[in-house]
Amino acid sequence: MTKQHANPEDTDLYALGALDGGELEAFEAHVRSCSVCAQEVEAARLRVALLGLAAPAVAPPPSVKESLMRRVRAERIPEMPWTERRQEPAKPMRVRSSTWLTPAFGTAAVFFAALAALIWMKDLRDSKRIENLQAQLAVAQAQSVQIAKAAADADQLVGSPGTMRVALAQQPGGPSGGAGVLYNARMGAVMYAGVMPPAPAGKSYQLWLVPASGAPVSLGVFSVTDPNMPVSAHVPPGIVAKAFAVTLEPQGGMPQPTGPKVLVGVVS
């Protein structure tokens, strides 16, 4: 039996946005399942699009462009710190800390520094321990600086137009855990944080960007399983994510995923 195609009159009306009521519903239902009619719709939409060129010529005033460019400049993102490219085999990700997933983290860092200071006072007379604790304090202070910078980076990413939050969900049979990704396609920036059990001996977690077409792109390996310690990565230009995934790979990572998916999140 020959498949019945849509009425050509309806195709033109649909392309014009003029089909309505039950006819519109029936037409759309048919086109979803008929590639021939879908192609006809595409051709009709193109002809319809060109109708706009028939409008009498009117030039926009220069102020429109000036205003547009001002808005663009106002939105410009300063150079981001995550500019390094991943090489194969994947390098470990840079570890950054931020408050975007756990707002209490900044406080925790301050607490850490304060704790170190208290211990330092208690053991003031023990010169060896003093040196030790002073070193710890220096580390804590350095971490605080790093935390502040990472928090600023994360705030900037969160506040940038186009930044999306992608929740990565635990996969059946995989280790229990969860994670989130902040993703900005235009900036090429990804920030990941999650709660995962430590990777088994000889294994690493590896984060992947799954593009709309083509092979997954490694965003690096990581062993950090603390949600307070986000990791950031850079997405090569021109690649737009359809999903993010975390797999369990041999230590150091692989050029392409080989292990089981433990977390997956689709970009909506």
């Binding site: 003029a18 060129l53 409008a55 926009p60 137009p161 737009v240």
Partner: protein
């Protein structure tokens, strides 16, 4: 005189926009703002509103260029479709058809062979042919096309406005679109050297 300079393809400008190059956005604006603004003013009949839609359109392009796959569709057609969509939504107070706004859902394989809109001369030529083609339509066919395209009316609304049966509206739209298609095809084959 030497051969005319080829314009930078839209895909190249989109790549530069993705890299944060403001001048590429400015170049795309210079290329297409005129034709878009004319369409927006015709639909909205309000230059202030048309300016706002035009600006938002290019701002959307700046923010979402990464989502536009130049291999899947024409930037000019995408801008025309989205610009009209936004203008009609504003005019009629109805929701935008979001599916048409997503470049990843948009897949015009190419413009007609006669319609390379990246080049200013070709763009002007196409505009002229289109206006001439519309002028050849019988008045009642041109009316239904304009009510649908520029006023955003549905077939039922057009039937009510013109006092014509729904079937007549359908057949007039079909006849008008067929005539335009034929006109384009004829014009294309009549011009040697075009490919």
């Amino acid at each position: 005189m030497t051969a005319s300079m080829q314009p930078v393809p839209d895909s190249g400008l989109v790549e530069r926009i993705m890299a944060g190059d403001e001048s590429a956005l400015a170049a795309l604006y210079d290329r297409y703002a005129g034709m878009l603004f004319a369409m927006l003013v015709r639909i909205l009949r309000d230059t202030g509103a048309a300016e706002e839609v035009l600006q938002d359109l290019f701002l959307q392009l700046w923010r979402g260029a990464a989502r536009f796959d130049a291999s899947r569709g024409s930037m000019a057609a995408w801008l025309l479709v989205i610009g009209r969509n936004r203008a009609i939504s504003r005019l009629r107070g109805r929701e935008s058809r979001e599916i048409l706004e997503d470049p990843q859902e948009f897949s015009f394989e190419s413009l007609p062979s006669s319609g390379n809109l990246e080049d200013e001369a070709s763009r002007m030529q196409l505009m002229g042919r289109l206006r001439a083609g519309l002028a050849t339509l019988p008045a009642e066919q041109r009316e239904v096309l304009e009510l649908a395209y520029f006023e955003g009316m549905t077939q039922t609304e057009i039937a009510a406005k013109t006092g014509s049966p729904l079937g007549t509206v359908k057949s007039r739209v079909r006849a008008a679109m067929q005539t335009l298609k034929q006109y384009f095809d004829d014009e294309t084959t009549r011009q040697p050297g075009r490919h």
